[in-house]
């Protein structure tokens, strides 16, 4: 049991990192990675949303879609449920904790139905995981996203002061560095046999 969880963790965070290996969630990865602080906030929000969405969509898949034999409506059904759920959670957070809302809440609407979040849910279904494993995989995928975005934010903070050729300044050099980080992550392939 523990061994399988560790394996799942390593595979979701390093080997099949959502951003750097599967290329999901590139939009927030490039958009919110200018500062380490905001990257951490975004990462926390993604971990949270991925965990919750994985659980919720598993329930939807098992008890609604399967029982009506309409599994082909997966994508649209998942989007509806995740969007509604995140909206709801945002409301609850705004009501209950102002600090948490400021730390996490502002990022929630940005990722309601991000492709990485939807990706986690669809991969869970493909794998045929049970509820607990789906939930864990969601959390781990979020951790992987956080790792990627925080690493990249650190690089971009340094890039601000680097002597970059005029034509590569800004987005081009960011994309080049992102691809190099991604290449580095491909080095983890084959870590688990």
């Amino acid at each position: 049991m523990i061994q399988s969880i560790v394996t799942a963790f390593l595979s979701a965070v390093l080997i099949e990192n959502f951003v750097l290996v599967r290329f999901l969630g590139i939009c927030p990865f490039l958009g919110v990675s200018k500062k380490i602080n905001t990257a951490l906030g975004m990462g926390a929000a993604v971990i949270f949303v991925m965990g919750v969405a994985s659980g919720a969509t598993w329930l939807l898949q098992e008890y609604v879609l399967k029982s009506f034999k309409i599994e082909y409506l997966q994508t649209i059904g998942f989007i509806v449920v995740i969007a509604a759920l995140v909206q709801f959670v945002e409301m609850v957070i705004q009501k209950t904790s102002r600090q948490l809302y400021q730390a996490l809440g502002v990022y929630l609407p940005l990722i309601t139905t991000n492709c990485a979040v939807l990706g986690v849910c669809l991969i869970n279904v493909q794998k045929g995981s049970d509820l607990l494993n789906s939930f864990l995989y969601g959390i781990f995928a979020g951790v992987g996203f956080t790792l990627a975005i925080v690493l990249f934010a650190g690089i971009r903070e340094r890039l601000e002061y680097a002597d970059v050729p005029q034509s590569l300044k800004g987005i081009p050099i960011s994309l080049i560095s992102a691809s190099l980080v991604s290449l580095a992550f491909f080095g983890f392939q084959g870590l688990i046999k």
């Binding site: 009506f68 309409i70 409506l73 509806v80 709801f88 002597d163």
Partner: protein, 266 residues
């Protein structure tokens, strides 16, 4: 046919259920927003430019109501917006202190010494990463103009190797405060003209060696001030802007002219 009906009704039902649930939740979890926040938000330009130093117009409106920002804090809206916000808050816009940024270092190239010759990027943060900058004084203005670049109103100039704020142009947005690696810039009331233009925490002798116009901690200004507005923080004099009357006594006794009257408006 049957399949279509099932699919449509399940998805439609799900959407309706979630929609009703959400609208109910928005009532249950409604957060009471101070109506003044909404009113202030309406008179702001809504550009979310961040020139006030906050995340956007919503944050600014929130900060004003909480007393964390001043009614004239929106540089884009200017006096017109300030009047309206003041009306919402029930205060006089004219009674609000005009504030401006001030660079607390006067160590121009001609009066300060250098550790090494810096030939790197023209950026204070880059320079500060190399042994804390090229100035012998670890607290002084490096003069590469990161604050000047950050200023949206062209209110900062570099003269003689140190940054200066042209207070007429300054809207106290605070962007330069964040852009200074040495934390030399402070937002101060405009009418308080006298400032200790030094942030050196070194002992007097060390400061003296590094810079001719640094505060050497002689405490003469403390004794000279009749209003008790000056106190010592270690070996650095500090003027309490609340107590300062602007008599200028301290300037006349300061042996290094570290305390100056600010009249750089041009």
């Amino acid at each position: 046919m049957y399949e279509v009906v099932v699919a449509a009704s399940v998805l439609g039902g799900m959407g309706a259920l979630l929609g009703i649930g959400l609208s109910y939740a928005s009532k249950v979890f409604a957060v009471e927003i101070d109506e003044r926040v909404v009113q202030i938000r309406d008179v702001l330009p809504g550009a979310n430019c961040g020139a006030c130093g906050l995340a956007g117009c919503d944050s600014f409106a929130d900060a004003v109501v909480q007393g964390k920002a001043q009614v004239n804090g929106c540089p884009v809206g200017g006096d017109a917006a300030a009047q309206k916000i003041a009306a919402v808050m029930g205060v006089e816009a004219a009674g609000v202190k005009r504030v401006a940024a001030r660079v607390l270092c006067n160590g121009r190239c001609s009066v300060s010494t250098e550790k090494y010759i810096y030939r790197g990027l023209n950026d204070c943060f880059a320079a500060a990463q190399l042994f804390g900058g090229h100035k012998s004084c670890a607290y002084g203005c490096l003069g590469h103009g990161s604050c000047m670049a950050a200023c949206p109103f062209n209110a900062i100039v570099i003269t003689g190797g140190v940054a200066r704020v042209i207070e007429d142009r300054c809207r106290a947005c605070g962007k330069c405060v964040a852009a200074c690696p040495k934390k030399l810039i402070e937002i101060v009331p405009k009418e308080k003209k006298y400032s200790v233009l030094c942030r050196s925490r070194d002992k007097g002798a060390v400061t003296k060696k590094n810079c001719e116009v640094g505060c050497i901690g002689c405490t003469r200004c403390v004794k000279a001030c009749r209003y008790g507005a000056i106190s010592m923080e270690g070996s650095l004099a500090k003027i309490d802007v609340e107590k300062c009357t602007g008599c200028g006594e301290c300037t006349s006794v300061c042996p290094t002219m570290a305390i100056r009257k600010m009249d750089y408006d041009d």
